[in-house]
């Protein structure tokens, strides 16, 4: 038995944040029932990366990643008969995950008040860009625009060139993954309390707020008046020689903020002449722009003759915080990732075998596991509905898009 075995979760979500939330629950054993539109299924089925040589609906690597361990049932909840099947389903599930724009839930009869009246035992989590009541100038959102509304956009990267645009951050969906993670932790906390109270809960996740909260250490100080705010793109930055430098085979990041780091660098470089002119505690007490520039120039000269993994290991052994800039291949090759089995082999009936990223927490008794690949569209429609709610309650074949 895994930690969430036995919980039934209905997934109305059909974009990255809600599907990621569902995946986090499913990989711990929750039974995730994904409702998909007959015919086209979740829109994430249309998004890349695509497995080579695959057809439209079953070839998305994104969908495959986000929907491991789930069942797919085709049902159009926006027509009356589908809505009635949905109402029946709600009597049999513990939690519901949605990520449609604000207002959509009300359209299918699932606003918080109705939920409390009709399905008081259900934990309902809604993930939206700006919460349940977005202002008129925030009705339309994508990950990029949420990233910019949260403050991260303006401040990415650090020590920015003011003439260049701020950058989008890593990958396409970081704001969605962040919100999905926050949603999952709120759902599990709610299920914990529900074991005693038998009461559901409405959870309102705003992607903007989740992202803003990820800068809590600085933002809390700013809103308290303890740290300066302003139009500077460097407002979140720390100043010093830290940064990314080219190596012979890629890039490395070096962090230096304390006298101990400086001493370790001296040991690693065998106390070169140029270091002698710096006070031992300059990083902490006398970190002038001139010293930072000179230090960076010497570090750049040195690192371009080094290999990133080897120099990182040598530095770490002396207490200098230096790491490689890894890419996807480095992660697959990482002895640490292999040791922790971060990548798991998954066989998908259409896409074949691939190494999927798993989760960053190892639970000794109930590890997360990928037992089943993402479902084909409607793969579990007939058996799934019948098992869940009994034969009689299943809507007509037209509502479910027929047998799949």
């Amino acid at each position: 038995m895994s930690a969430l075995t036995g919980y039934k979760v209905l997934e109305l979500a059909e974009s990255v944040s809600g599907e990621y939330c569902g995946k986090l629950l499913a990989d711990f054993g929750a039974e995730l029932i994904k409702l998909e539109k007959p015919g086209c299924g979740s829109p994430t089925r249309q998004l890349g990366p695509r497995a080579p040589g695959t057809d439209d609906l079953e070839g998305s690597g994104l969908f495959a990643y986000l929907n491991t361990n789930k069942s797919s049932i085709t049902l159009d909840v926006t027509n009356p008969s589908g809505a009635s099947t949905l109402a029946t389903l709600l009597q049999h599930v513990d939690a519901v995950i949605d990520d449609h724009p604000a207002g959509w839930l009300k359209g299918v009869g699932l606003d918080p008040d109705t939920l409390k009246q009709v399905h008081p035992q259900v934990v309902l989590c809604s993930i939206t860009a700006f919460g349940q009541a977005p202002p008129q100038d925030r009705l339309h959102a994508q990950d990029l625009t949420v990233f910019h509304s949260s403050g991260w956009g303006y401040h990415t990267g650090s020590t920015a060139d003011e003439n260049q645009p701020p950058l989008k951050g890593a990958g396409r969906f970081l704001p969605s993954y962040e919100a999905g993670l926050e949603a999952a932790l709120c759902v599990v906390a709610s299920l914990y309390e529900r074991e005693d109270s038998r009461l559901g809960r409405f959870i309102d996740i705003s992607q903007q707020e989740v992202l803003a909260s990820r800068a809590d250490y600085v933002l809390a100080q700013m809103v308290a008046g303890d740290m300066a705010v302003g139009p500077q793109r460097s407002a979140y930055d720390l100043h010093g020689p830290a940064g990314i430098f080219p190596c012979r085979d890629g890039y490395a990041y070096i962090w230096m903020s304390a006298p101990a780091h400086w001493a370790a660098l001296g040991k690693l470089l065998d106390n070169p002449q140029w270091m002698a002119s710096f006070p031992a505690n300059w990083l902490e007490r006398e970190c002038t722009p001139q010293r930072v520039a000179e230090c960076r120039r010497h570090i750049a000269e040195w690192l371009k003759t080094q290999d990133k993994h080897a120099v990182a290991a040598a530095a770490q052994n002396l207490g200098l915080t230096l790491v490689a800039i890894n890419n996807a291949r480095d992660l697959l090759d990482s002895p640490q990732y292999r040791y922790r089995e971060f990548f798991a082999q998954v066989e998908h009936p259409v896409q074949g075998v691939a190494l999927y990223p798993t989760v960053p927490y190892k639970l000794s008794e109930t590890p997360a596991r990928i037992l089943r690949p993402a479902p084909l569209l409607g793969q579990h429609t007939e058996r799934g509905l019948a098992t869940l709610v009994g034969e009689q309650a299943v809507g007509s074949r037209a509502d479910t898009g027929g047998a799949s």
């Binding site: 989008k168 709610s190 809960r201 959870i203 250490y217 890039y251 990041y253």
Partner: protein, 401 residues
């Protein structure tokens, strides 16, 4: 109101923290915001650097206060055998332990999982390390930008054809913290249903990799290694941040041909709609630089906020790029209650960032961060049942202060 009756889904759960700096304290903060009673065990000989760095008063340190509201503090000297004994007694009456000390430090203190488990078999023991607690690279340490570098994020952030610029230096710790909270709560729920505790081993670097799962899938399926590509997006164009008047920026993401038509309409350049360089997503992506120049030329003289409003009315995702000044004055964040006032034991009120979530029957957020050892009497007396005389003796012996 005390730490044990704030409501919320975790009311009644007791958490002990052996944490420092940002990511570890963030775990306790989120658990406290969910209603748990969170006790920081602090040692004057080995203080959290955020209590001391650049501040005169360890009890009035803004960095510390930003990630430790709503918690209790007990001061125990963990370098003494008796101190460790007291901590183990406390763990015997707790549900979750969170630690993010340097690799191996808890074992050296005699507080490894096996030791704690012997006292409290069903403890949920959360260990946070850059690379996790075991494995060939687990000896390595680093700060937030190292997590992003190692996890694969930094290599994706930079201008087209350029060297990696990386994420903002502040990104990573709270994501690491939230991931640890999720692992802890899954384990807590398992314990609630089976009586079995467990060891939760969280890797900061893997937390980062989890934020680019689809990029890793691209490598797994196609062997593709993404290079820095500025603000480009495989499924949207235009997609980027464009300079506006007064040094402001607006972000615009166009996800369909309909939205492209609406944008061209707003730009007053209808000839662009069917222009062969821009008539489809594929064409717009091929001519991305030209497209960005056209949009940027249009935004350059406009007000970012007005422009975002105009585009929103036309159904296009757009947002002013918010600076720190914009964020702390964002009316929407204020109206949702993201910023909340907490009060410390001296009656000092302070505005801080509350939980990101809204939920029915939420825990109340009301207390500021604790002074060092502020709750010694509660922890030693009320929880551990030591008499006033016994507490005085511990203080006299230098075990508590």
């Amino acid at each position: 109101m005390t730490a044990r009756n704030r409501g919320g889904p975790l009311q009644g759960v007791r958490v002990v923290e052996l944490t420092k700096v940002w990511a570890g304290p963030c775990v306790g903060k989120l658990l406290a915001y969910l209603g748990a009673e969170v006790i920081r065990v602090e040692s004057e000989d080995s203080l959290d650097v955020t209590r001391t760095y650049g501040v005169a008063d360890i009890n009035n340190a803004p960095g510390f206060q930003s990630v430790n509201p709503q918690k209790l503090s007990v001061q125990i000297n963990m370098k003494t055998r008796e101190g460790v004994g007291l901590l183990l007694d406390l763990l015997g009456k707790s549900d979750i332990l969170v630690e993010n000390l340097r690799p191996g430090a808890v074992k050296r203190l005699g507080l490894g999982y096996d030791k704690v488990k012997a006292i409290k078999p069903d403890i949920v023991y959360v260990s946070m390390g850059m690379y996790g607690s075991e494995g060939p690279l687990s000896y390595q340490t680093g700060y937030a930008p190292c997590f992003a570098a190692l996890g694969g994020l930094s290599s994706l952030v930079g201008y087209e054809g350029g060297a990696p610029v990386g994420m903002n230096i502040r990104y990573a710790d709270s994501t690491f913290g939230a991931s640890a909270v999720y692992g802890a709560l899954v384990a807590l729920l398992h314990r609630r249903r089976t009586g079995t505790g467990q060891f939760v081993d969280v890797s900061a670097v893997e937390c980062m990799s989890s934020m680019i799962g689809d990029s890793l899938m691209d490598f797994a399926l196609n062997g593709a290694i993404a290079a820095c590509d500025g603000n480009r997006h495989a499924e949207m164009a235009p997609h980027g941040a464009y300079a506006c008047r007064n040094g402001e920026w607006v972000s615009i993401a166009v996800a369909s041909d309909d939205q492209w038509r609406a944008l061209v309409d707003a730009m007053g350049q209808p000839g662009l709609v069917d222009h062969p360089s821009f008539c489809s997503l594929a064409a717009r992506r091929t001519h991305g630089s030209e497209l960005d120049s056209l949009v940027a030329a249009w935004t350059a003289t406009r007000d970012a906020q007005e422009l975002a409003c105009d585009l929103q009315q036309r159904g296009i995702a757009a947002s002013r790029s918010q600076s720190s000044l914009d964020l702390v004055s964002d009316p929407h964040l204020w109206s949702r209650g993201f910023y909340q006032e907490v009060t410390d034991s001296a009656g000092q009120a302070k505005t801080t960032t509350g939980p990101s979530w809204k939920m029915s029957r939420a825990a109340k957020v009301s207390s500021g961060a604790p002074r060092l050892g502020e709750h010694n009497a509660y922890v030693l007396g009320d929880i551990l049942g030591l008499s006033a005389a016994e507490q005085r003796a511990l203080t006299a012996a230098g075990i508590t202060r």
